[in-house]
């Protein structure tokens, strides 16, 4: 048996990674969780989670993160801040190259999540100066101001409703003529008189001197262009997987999400994936933690077999 630093390394500290860590620690595996910045992931920017079972009063993303971290740490899970640069997955010992070192491990669970998709209309200029992906963080800067929100899914609709607590008006720009969001969210948004829907439209440009001043949108049916005066623009047009460090070493779907089977096993033995980074039909906290429990269970069996 070759020497390793760990039995299992979990990459990512969102709900999936922390749950995998909880299960692996309870299985008494020699496990490490590494996280790029700090635990939490995308839920950190969620103000109110009302569909995670067991919390009828709802809870915030940071609250859930604190609870998950405390629960995993209770069973001894070590969490370190490191950024993964690349993986070497050939052979029984996998090597994870991070910014500071090389880690040798028998098994890996990739739970690196996803990031908001960007518009690609030169928004870098307005990063922190009007452009945002987080209503909880940045909504209060727009008290009594007009903002634009982009997207039609759950996140876009829920967060637009949240923005109306502060903004005097929210233009919700969506490329179709109806929303994709869960019905209850649609009902709330359509009944909110601070939200004005801009249907069949996409954002084509952002403009402003010091900060954002206006957003250009184009109607895809009429080709008509329109300039919306707004100091903020919130983007919720989907996500892209955080799987650049994986390279071509694992099978991915056409959008770059990692393909797994029902055991959360990837195309390489000993490497598992869980949560938003995986090709899954639904990306929720509830599904991420479910994936993670299975992934940890599968990893445990893989390691046991390797050792026996």
């Amino acid at each position: 048996m070759e020497n390793v630093d760990y039995d299992l390394v979990i990459i990512g500290g969102g709900p999936a990674g922390l749950t995998a860590g909880l299960y692996a620690s309870r299985a008494r595996l020699n496990v490490l969780l590494i996280e790029r910045v700090a635990p939490g992931g995308q839920v950190l920017i969620t103000d109110h989670i009302e569909n995670y079972p067991g919390f009828p009063e709802g809870l915030s993303g940071p609250e859930l993160t604190d609870k998950l971290v405390a629960q995993a740490r209770q069973f001894g899970l070590p969490i370190e801040s490191e950024e993964v640069e690349s993986l070497t997955l050939e052979g029984p010992v996998k090597i994870i190259k991070t910014s500071g070192r090389e880690i040798r491990t028998h098994a890996i669970i990739i739970a690196s999540g996803a990031s908001p998709r960007t518009l690609h209309v030169g928004e870098e200029r307005f990063q922190g100066k009007g452009l945002s992906y987080c209503a909880t963080c940045d909504g209060p800067f727009y008290r009594n101001k007009t903002v634009v929100a982009v997207g039609g899914g759950d996140t876009a609709v829920q967060e637009s409703i949240f923005l109306t607590k502060f903004a005097s008006k929210v233009y919700l720009v969506h490329r179709r003529d109806q929303l994709r969001a869960t019905k209850i969210l649609q009902e709330r948004a359509l009944a909110n008189d601070k939200i004005e829907f801009v249907w069949d439209s996409v954002v084509t440009g952002l403009d402003g001197f010091f900060g954002l001043e206006s957003v250009k949108v184009k109607n895809l049916k009429t080709q008509e262009e329109r300039t919306l005066t707004a100091e903020g623009c919130f983007i919720w047009i989907g996500i892209v997987p955080n799987a650049g460090f994986v390279g071509d070493s694992l099978e991915k779907d056409p959008w770059g999400f990692i393909i797994t089977d029902a055991h959360m096993a990837t195309s390489v033995p000993g490497v598992f994936a869980a949560g938003d980074v995986r090709n899954t039909p639904l990306r929720q906290i509830a599904t991420a933690v479910g994936d993670a429990a299975i992934a940890a269970y599968s990893a445990e069996h893989y390691i046991e077999n390797l050792k026996s």
Binding site: G40, Q127, C134, L212
Partner: protein, 108 residues
């Protein structure tokens, strides 16, 4: 290590940041902001690491709205890096410690 981070506000910004002889890192944050809470410990670690060389300050945008608007800060967490009274760099969002070190080292 939290003791190494100075709490500043609209009144003290000029004297503590603009007129500081040391380079200053200002962390704009608010209690409602999840990512701000998450990077707090990283900023604290950096404050310990650069003690005596770089001044670290944090500004609660809820209590002090004038300073962030002066610097067109409309998203948090935002860190601004100030040297000799001018902002030389600003970073918004959750950022890895190594990247922040890189920017701070350029201030020295």
């Amino acid at each position: 290590m939290a003791g190494n981070i100075l709490d500043i506000n609209d009144e003290t910004f000029e004297s503590e940041v603009i007129k500081s002889s040391l380079p200053v890192v200002v962390d704009f944050w608010a209690p409602w902001c999840g990512p701000c809470r998450a990077i707090g410990p990283i900023v604290e670690e950096l404050a310990g690491q650069y003690q005596g060389k770089v001044k670290f300050a944090k500004c609660n945008v809820d209590d002090s709205p004038i300073t962030p608007s002066k610097f067109a800060v409309r998203a948090i967490p935002t860190l601004i890096f100030v040297k000799d009274g001018s902002v030389v760099e600003s970073i918004t969002g959750m950022t890895a410690k190594a990247k922040l070190e890189e920017v701070i080292n350029k201030l020295l």
